[in-house]
């Protein structure tokens, strides 16, 4: 059991790195997902096709394959994902600026993969708004932008908060994969390192790692449950 105390800094470091990639990937996926959702509901058919294609490709491919694509495809495209070395940002998220690109590749893969699910959550929210709402707004003479801003989006936002939350929880769990992709020092790689190379007993390490993930997922899940119940009452 004392591995938990002796190696507390290792666990904490792993937790911190996992948290970093989750925060970054969540921001990236929300932005990219919103863009893809806009593409998917745009009136221009080719853009719609791009959005639909994107969602179908990334939703049906295992994250593992996406990660391999990022690791092999990006260098072939001549990019080391250096555009992610944003000057202010890499002071906090130190891994963005390292020379080894795996953290950035894993981040890109996670963002690409999660964005497809974010898009679907947002779209399902827009679909949940009754058609009469938008029709009424149009008959009042609101323009397309006003219609979205004052009528459709506020309502669809309510309907998509809970699905979005589930997507983010799934993303936190998916981030465990990065440890097996050469990102050194996150929670899952810590588990591997401690049990195999350093020969610590399995059970305490497993408990420590589990706690690390549960700290992130369980409160978020409980929060979503509460939101869902409150919305069910409101309806």
């Amino acid at each position: 059991m004392n591995v938990l105390i002796d190696k507390f800094d290792v666990f904490a470091g792993g937790f911190w790195l996992t948290l970093q990639i989750c925060v970054l990937a969540a921001i990236g996926a929300l932005i990219l997902g919103a863009v893809v959702a806009v593409l998917r509901i745009s009136p221009v058919p080719p853009l719609r096709a791009v959005g639909t294609g994107y969602v179908n490709v990334f939703r049906n491919m295992p994250l593992t394959v996406v990660m391999f694509f990022a690791a092999f495809g990006l260098p072939a495209l001549g990019s080391n994902a250096d555009f992610l070395r944003v000057p202010g940002l890499d002071a906090i998220f130190s891994r963005l600026g390292t020379d080894l690109p795996y953290f950035r590749f894993a981040l890109i893969a996670l963002v690409l993969y999660t964005a497809a699910f974010v898009c679907e959550a947002l779209r399902s929210g827009v679909n949940a708004v009754p058609a009469g709402q938008a029709e009424a707004a149009r008959s009042l003479g609101l323009t397309f932008g006003q219609n979205l801003r004052y009528v459709v989006l506020p309502q669809s936002w309510k309907a998509s908060v809970v699905p979005l939350g589930s997507v983010i929880i799934a993303m936190i769990k998916n981030s465990a994969l990065i440890g097996f992709f050469g990102v050194v020092g996150d929670l899952s790689q810590t588990a591997d390192q401690l049990t195999s190379a350093e020969g610590y007993a399995f059970v305490p390490v497993a408990i420590g790692i589990s706690i690390g993930y549960l700290i992130m997922t369980v409160p978020l899940g409980a929060l979503l449950d509460r939101l869902e119940k409150r919305q069910a009452v409101a309806r």
Binding site: P46, T52, N60, M61, F72, A76, G78
Partner: protein
């Protein structure tokens, strides 16, 4: 899609149609040019489209072609075996878990009157504890990443002197996670049913277990069928995590091929396409089932063809109407 467009936009007039057409053409040109300069050209410069790299995968005349596809076939077979075993196991375990949780929940409400007071308290305490324990188990395993469960199973079981084939580690790891998810899907399905269903079952003298087995569970399965099929897609995707415990599934075979032929992008494109085809058809199946279900619901709800009162109540009791 068409339904959604009609929510947000009016039916386009001639001017709007012209604008749409023009912007379509512009968008297509921009996308094509962008794809050419940003994707095609760098890849072509690096020779990623050469037959040397693609040949073993697409050219039947290539000497490696039969061998490569033979290996990919093995990988696919292993992936499907693992996925099938995992989904069957998690369905069984998940159903049992859902029934257990529903039973325990109804037990905690029982006061055990008619028994001696200490026995009654003991029974209540026991059912409360069991209920809490299952709840905690569900929350813990739902909150852990699948990769981690698979890894724990593969690392932890040998620690306790139990060792299997890697296939079983993968299946157990996947089952632990997915059984919990399926149990939650079924449980929310059962709890979402109208309260009258369980009350009616109790009124005709069914025991709680019979109520769950004969009334609630079939309806929950029916309602939750689309969600269950989507979970199947998730399982199929997650079998690709077998590579971390070196189970020989499609992705792992792909890595071996890459090790020999050195064409990562091409192999991953092929594997990605295989996964997309299978999973896309599965999601389409889920959508089809959902449509069928909602149609069935609508047609029985049409008041014009009201069946005789006896039949109507029967169909409601067996859940046809839900």
């Amino acid at each position: 899609m068409s339904q959604q467009t009609s929510v947000l936009y009016d039916v386009p007039g001639p001017r709007q149609r012209r604008i749409t057409l023009i912007s379509s053409i512009v968008a297509t040109v921009v996308l094509a040019v962008g794809a050419y300069f940003l994707i095609y050209q760098p890849l072509d410069d690096k020779g990623q489209f050469s037959m040397e790299l693609w040949g073993p995968l697409v050219d039947p005349a290539n000497e490696n072609f039969p061998l490569v596809w033979d290996r990919i076939g093995t990988g696919l077979k292993n992936t499907l075996i693992a996925a099938a075993l995992a989904i069957v196991a998690s369905l069984v375990v998940g159903t049992l878990l859902a029934v257990l949780r529903i039973q325990l929940k109804s037990l905690t409400r029982r006061r055990f009157t008619g028994l001696a007071t200490p026995v009654a308290y003991l029974l209540r305490g026991l059912s409360l504890t069991l209920s809490a324990v299952t709840r905690v188990c569900v929350e813990v395993f739902r909150g852990l990443p699948v990769v981690i469960t698979i890894f724990f199973v593969a690392r932890g079981f040998p620690e306790f002197g139990i060792s299997f084939d890697t296939l079983w580690y993968l299946v157990i790891g996947l089952t632990v996670y997915n059984a919990v998810v399926i149990a939650e899907i079924l449980r929310s399905g059962m709890e979402g049913l109208p309260g009258g269903q369980a009350e009616a079952a109790a009124a005709i003298g069914l025991s709680p277990l019979q109520t769950t087995r004969m009334i609630l569970l079939p309806q929950a399965f029916r309602i939750m069928l689309p969600a269950l099929i989507s979970q199947l897609v998730v399982v199929l995707k997650d079998t690709s995590l077998g590579f971390i415990i070196s189970y020989e599934e499609t992705l792992n075979i792909g890595k071996q091929i890459i090790g020999v032929l050195g064409n990562p992008i091409q192999v991953y494109v092929v594997i990605g396409v295989l996964f997309i085809v299978v999973n896309y058809s599965l999601s389409k199946l889920a959508q089809y089932v959902q449509r069928q279900l909602s149609q069935g619901r609508k047609s029985t709800g049409v008041p014009a063809q009201t069946p005789p009162a006896a039949l109507a109540s029967q169909s409601e009791a067996t859940g046809q109407g839900v």
